[in-house]
């Protein structure tokens, strides 16, 4: 796909599209100006009905106040706003701040310290991030890096319960934001170390007791696959596929963590989430489809019982996790109203699926990719480009790179434009045989992965996607991977931040840049919109560069990260390069 700085791919009739969409989820959750979960609602649209800030006046947007976290690692969390209080979860040590929005400058009311064990920092794969909290029934729920889930009284900051869900000694950490559905706090693990066997757990919201745990690999009883499991495609049917699609006992250490987003459809009573790549990294070491890694699951929230599953990328050999967000929309496609989920995958394709059945309706590429030819809508099977597979060989010019056409950074959907706004990457890579490495006294060899910018030379993109027609409508090029989330409002303004510290507002209809502000540090956070006690609309975002994307910068992708020693950049700063410095800060913007 050839792109220029701002490409108007297709003119759409806004009113027509908007009319074509039935918005049960969104309309069922009237917007009271609060922001009680990172994705704004169970449908995960990140759409605010606030319209005070609009395409005409957003150019006047000004910073209202700031709040420093005093920490310097990656800040990926979405702040929450409930009852005129803002809740901010920091990276490790995972402090929860409650800021009083009724007072000038939003001073802290209290801070809750979960005191995660310091050792968890050494286990985290990709910086010690946290992606936020969830408000439910007077409590704030979130996870700590040392694999615990906590419930905190939203009014007082008092700890209600704390439950250990994983073991950092086994390589398990938790970085995701939980969601709470029908009294269950839903939590999945992260784990970069080989040997983790992924899971999603349901924890009782009142007591903290673990009600169920659904493993990603292993026999059906562990995966919570039972008689009600009705996957759409034949390839997903059969007993104990979580064992049989592996060699020997490899499923026991097969990865497939559930470290990212969960959505929920109250009408169908189904939760949706994706699982991560299988382990180990080298695909030649694990023949087979490696189920249920790289899979989207639909489960019952109260029991964890699997209802359907769809493995996006069998035998994944590019680290293409299927963990990205699933946006629940009701769309009229080919004249038929479909209850769909929209899933912009690491593999660079936007999966539009029937969320009741698991059928793939379309799976077109939103990012440049050359690893797959198409998804066979009959069989559900993705058609792999053989020349781009990896394993024990050298492969060049593979797109996208392991962070994917898009990583965890969440998209937004506007019912007014009918578009999905996707912050994403434009990265390719090559594997050049093996290189020596050394851990724990032992030499080993690992793939020598080199990532670089995709076609056009820009490493990031921001794409507006028409999910009905399965096409990009406009695109913005960004120098660096766009690693922040997006948010869109009824003012038809879409917001996102960049790793070099610009917080941007675009016209949601056509991508015209309307406003930008230079944050102190690059952002990998998630913008949110709320109504202040003064009745005004505010946009808030955490800055504080880091996360895996920080590792991307430090991994040689950014040419400025090397060679600047002569200009005085020491080793300690090389990971952030010339684009930005570290430091966690919350920024709240409003019209004057």
């Amino acid at each position: 796909m050839k792109i220029s700085s701002l490409v108007w791919v297709k003119t759409i009739l806004l009113t027509a599209v908007a009319a074509a969409i039935s918005l049960a989820q969104i309309q069922n959750q009237p917007d009271d100006g609060q922001w009680t979960m990172p994705a704004k609602n169970y449908a995960s649209t990140r759409f605010s009905t606030a319209g005070e800030i609009n395409v005409s006046n957003v150019k006047n947007l000004k910073l209202a106040w700031t709040f420093s976290t005093g920490l310097t690692r990656g800040h990926e969390a979405a702040p929450l706003v409930v009852n005129n209080t803002m809740y901010v979860v920091t990276p490790w040590p995972n402090t929860l701040y409650a800021l009083d929005l009724t007072k000038p400058g939003a001073p802290a009311k209290w801070a809750y310290q979960p005191n995660p064990v310091p050792a968890a920092q050494g286990v985290a794969c990709c910086d010690v991030v946290n992606r936020g909290a969830f408000y439910y029934n007077g409590k704030i729920y979130y996870n700590t890096l040392d694999a615990q889930t906590v419930a905190v009284d939203a009014a007082t900051g008092k700890e209600i319960w704390k439950t250990k869900l994983g073991d950092i000694n086994q390589g398990e950490t938790i970085t995701m934001a939980p969601i709470v559905v029908k009294g269950k706090v839903l939590v999945g693990d992260s784990g970069g170390e080989f040997g983790v066997r992924g899971w999603l757990a349901g924890v009782d919201a009142d007591t903290g007791k673990i009600a169920w745990r659904a493993y990603t690999t292993g026999p059906d009883k562990d995966v919570l696959i039972g008689p009600n499991f009705k996957p759409f495609y034949a390839s997903e049917r059969g007993a104990d596929l979580g064992v049989k699609t592996w060699q020997g006992d490899q499923w026991k250490i097969g990865g497939g963590t559930a470290w990212s987003w969960i959505s929920y459809d109250p009408e169908l009573d189904l939760i949706y989430y994706g699982t991560s790549n299988p382990g180990p990294w080298n695909a030649d070491m694990r023949p087979g489809d490696n189920k249920w890694a790289c899979t989207i699951f639909a489960r019952r929230p109260e029991t964890g019982e699997a209802i359907w599953a769809y493995q996006i990328f069998p035998h994944d050999d590019h680290d293409y996790d299927a963990v990205n967000e699933n946006i629940l929309l009701d769309l009229t496609i080919n004249g038929r109203l479909r209850k769909v989920l929209a899933h912009p995958d690491r593999d660079g394709r936007m999966y539009i699926m029937d969320r009741a059945t698991g059928e793939v309706i379309s799976a077109e590429a939103f990012a440049f990719q050359n690893t797959t030819e198409y998804v066979d809508l009959k069989t559900g099977r993705i058609k792999i480009v053989e020349s781009k597979t990896t394993g024990f060989k050298t492969t060049r010019d593979i797109c996208p790179a392991p962070p994917g056409g898009k990583d965890w950074q969440p998209s937004a959907f506007s019912p007014r434009t009918g578009l999905i706004y996707i912050p994403h990457n434009n990265l390719c890579y090559e594997i050049q045989g093996v290189q020596a490495n050394y851990i724990a006294g032992t030499p080993y060899v690992g793939a020598n992965v080199k990532m670089y910018a995709g076609p056009g030379g820009n490493r990031g993109e921001f794409t507006a996607w028409d999910p009905v027609n399965a096409k990009a409508v406009w695109k913005i090029k960004e120098e660096l991977p766009v690693w922040s989330g997006a948010v869109v409002t009824a003012g038809d303004v879409v917001f996102y931040g960049t790793m070099d510290g610009w917080f941007k507002a675009l016209d949601a209809r056509n991508g015209t840049p309307l406003w930008q502000f230079k944050l102190g540090s690059g952002t990998v956070g998630q913008p949110v919109v709320y109504k202040g006690p003064d009745g005004k609309e505010y946009i808030a975002i955490l800055s504080g560069v880091g996360g895996w994307s920080g590792a991307v910068v430090s991994g040689g992708l950014n040419p400025a990260a090397d060679g600047t020693a002569a200009l005085g950049f020491g080793n300690a700063m090389a990971d952030l390069g010339k684009f930005t410095t570290k430091g966690g800060m919350l920024y709240a913007f409003a019209l004057p």
């Binding site: 086994q170 070491m285 024990f392 020596a436 724990a440 032992t442």
Partner: protein, 279 residues
């Protein structure tokens, strides 16, 4: 009355917190015998004391578990000046000359008398083969076996295990002893050390060929310093040269199986003209 002995004692009493020119700051794993331990019983502990003494410094440890990004998080973030063992061919750090070369080895029960010498042995397709998994990857011999279609025969043993447990790498030798696997393919220094301390008698033989499909099974091991810290690298090189016989004795005492240097030089000869990379 005791002032003389006291002054000796104070030689290792360090003045100030943090960086100090009289201190060699070493990053090491606190639970990774035979290489290092917090109690100072490891090969790397002994080597650090020996080298530091020769360059007129004392050792101060930063304990850091040797998992992924160990080099980046230790040398790279200036938590220390040196790590005692890294492959000579590693790019992410400055390396001294190799002070030993070792190899992956086949380990089997002596009483089974398997006489394994080569990865090409056709019996592998009938055996269960134990191999360490290191982070997200298998140890090198696994790749050769997988390439031969034997991935299903491999059982992975985490090099880390549950990190709190003593001695995780030794689990692989236990599996050979118990018959859970027929053969283990293990990094030589681990095999040498743990086999000598095991109740079972083992046969140990170097993996051949030395390189298969571009993957080396033999590695030169060097001391690592920060990239560009040429002064320290040179000092340590000189110290390794001067202490060569002591270092060799140390390696023998830990049962490190050594192989000839690629250039055919002697362990205690002059430094090879260029970096003795193994790959």
């Amino acid at each position: 009355m005791h002032s003389r002995s006291l002054s000796v004692l104070f030689l290792s009493a360090l003045p100030l917190i943090g960086a100090d020119v009289n201190v060699l700051r070493v990053c090491a794993d606190p639970n990774n015998l035979p290489f290092s331990s917090r109690s100072g019983e490891g090969l790397e502990n002994r080597l650090a004391e020996l080298l530091a003494h020769r360059i007129g410094r004392s050792v101060a440890y930063t304990w850091w578990s040797e998992r992924k990004n160990f080099i980046e998080q230790t040398l790279g973030e200036d938590r220390c000046d040196a790590v005692m063992s890294i492959p000579s061919s590693l790019d992410s750090a400055g390396t001294t000359r190799p002070y030993y070369h070792s190899t992956y080895v086949f380990v089997s029960r002596k009483d089974r008398d398997l006489r394994i010498t080569s990865l090409a042995d056709s019996r592998f397709s009938n055996w269960r083969i134990g191999i360490h998994v290191v982070g997200d990857d298998y140890a090198p011999p696994a790749y050769a076996l997988a390439h031969r279609g034997l991935a299903a025969n491999i059982t992975g043993f985490s090099l880390f295990g549950a990190y709190g447990e003593p001695n995780p790498p030794a689990r692989l030798l236990d599996a050979v002893a118990s018959g859970d696997v027929d053969v283990a393919i293990v990094w030589g220094p681990l095999a040498g050390y743990f086999a000598a301390r095991h109740n079972t008698r083992f046969d140990i033989a170097p993996v051949s060929p030395a390189v298969y499909l571009g993957v080396p099974f033999r590695y030169g091991i060097s001391v690592g310093v920060r990239k560009g810290d040429e002064p320290l690298r040179q000092k340590l090189d000189q110290a390794l040269d001067g202490a060569c016989t002591s270092v060799q004795a140390l390696l023998r005492s830990y049962g490190v199986p050594q192989v000839a240097e690629p250039e055919g030089g002697k362990a205690c000869g002059p430094r090879p003209p260029s970096r003795a990379a193994s790959s």
